[in-house]
């Protein structure tokens, strides 16, 4: 599961980001942190290919890019400790061999216990997505937070 620390300092965020061995193994690079989200880059690498015939990056590597970007988007919105509850990915089209992938994510809603994120993956044009995704994250420090707030903001 994706988990992050609980500091508001952006320098520490970057350190947290790089301290994740899997983010390093994938070679993920931060591009931009809009106020409600995150934009990361997955550089094209031969060992991430899923289809030798086309050279396209494997859907599973794209899942890693999405999970990390989405988690960072949550943390940008609300710096708390969380875990991925569910992740849904639609693979719209095959990526092009040799080209980097960009994932842009926005945390569009958060409650006392949950954060809702959507985003997409593309080469350089957000209007021409390779994948779109939605995910729900659960704050793992929620019990204390809800207790401190005295009420819950859960939907339903």
């Amino acid at each position: 599961m994706s988990n992050e620390g609980s500091t508001q300092d952006r320098t520490n965020d970057t350190n947290l980001f790089y301290s994740s061995p899997y983010n390093q193994a994938l070679g993920l690079r931060p591009l931009n942190w809009p106020k409600d989200g995150c934009v990361l880059c997955l550089p094209y690498q031969a060992h991430l290919v899923g289809d030798l015939d086309s050279g396209a990056v494997h859907a599973g590597a794209i899942s890693g890019l999405i999970d990390t970007t989405f988690g960072q988007a949550v943390y940008t919105c609300i710096p708390r400790v969380f875990a991925t509850l569910d992740l849904r990915i639609d693979h719209i089209r095959r990526s092009t061999a040799g080209r980097d992938l960009i994932c842009a994510a926005a945390c569009y809603k958060h409650t006392a216990q949950l954060a809702f994120v959507r985003g997409s993956v593309y080469h350089d044009d957000p209007a021409d997505p390779i994948a779109t995704a939605v995910a729900i994250f659960m704050f793992t420090d929620a019990v204390q937070q809800v207790f401190a707030a005295g009420r819950s903001h859960e939907p339903g």
Binding site: G60, T68, R94
Partner: protein
């Protein structure tokens, strides 16, 4: 070696690990295939580089997701006559428990095999199948 050649070689020799060699990302994850009778299990060895959170420590959700996606594709190459790579149309994962840095297993269930699309359910677990760390399901396009 092209994918079609690798698939034919794996089917001919029943050495299913050859499929992993034909999938660079599966190789990157160091994925293993274990076939016992009518059951194929994919194994993701414990690796420090798959960690998402050093503090817990826990496997990265993206690594678990990538493993399950690979496992479903390898399962379809084993279970069907496809010689082209099944392509994920969509994939959904529910993360059920924190994944520890230990060996992870994936077992697949072919929910439906249509002419063009296969629906596959993937169960990922570590210590026992009754305590899954994640469950996923996806639709895979069988022919281009």
């Amino acid at each position: 070696m092209s994918l079609a050649e690798a698939v034919r070689a794996a089917r001919g020799t029943r050495d299913w690990q050859r499929l992993v060699q034909a999938l660079p990302f599966a190789n990157f994850l160091q994925l293993r295939i274990d076939v016992r009778g009518e059951l194929l299990t994919c194994v993701l060895p414990a690796q420090e580089r798959l960690v998402g959170n050093r503090t817990l420590p826990a496997l990265h959700g993206g690594a678990t997701a990538g493993f399950m996606d690979c496992a479903a594709i390898l399962f379809l190459l084993w279970r069907t006559d496809a010689v082209t790579l099944p392509k994920a149309i969509d994939f959904n994962i529910d993360f059920l428990r924190s994944a520890k840095v230990q060996e992870t297993f994936a077992e697949m269930h072919l929910v439906k095999l249509g002419a063009r699309v296969a629906n596959v359910r993937v169960l990922a677990w570590q210590t026992e199948p009754e305590k899954p760390i994640a469950i996923g399901h996806g639709n895979f396009l069988l022919a281009p």
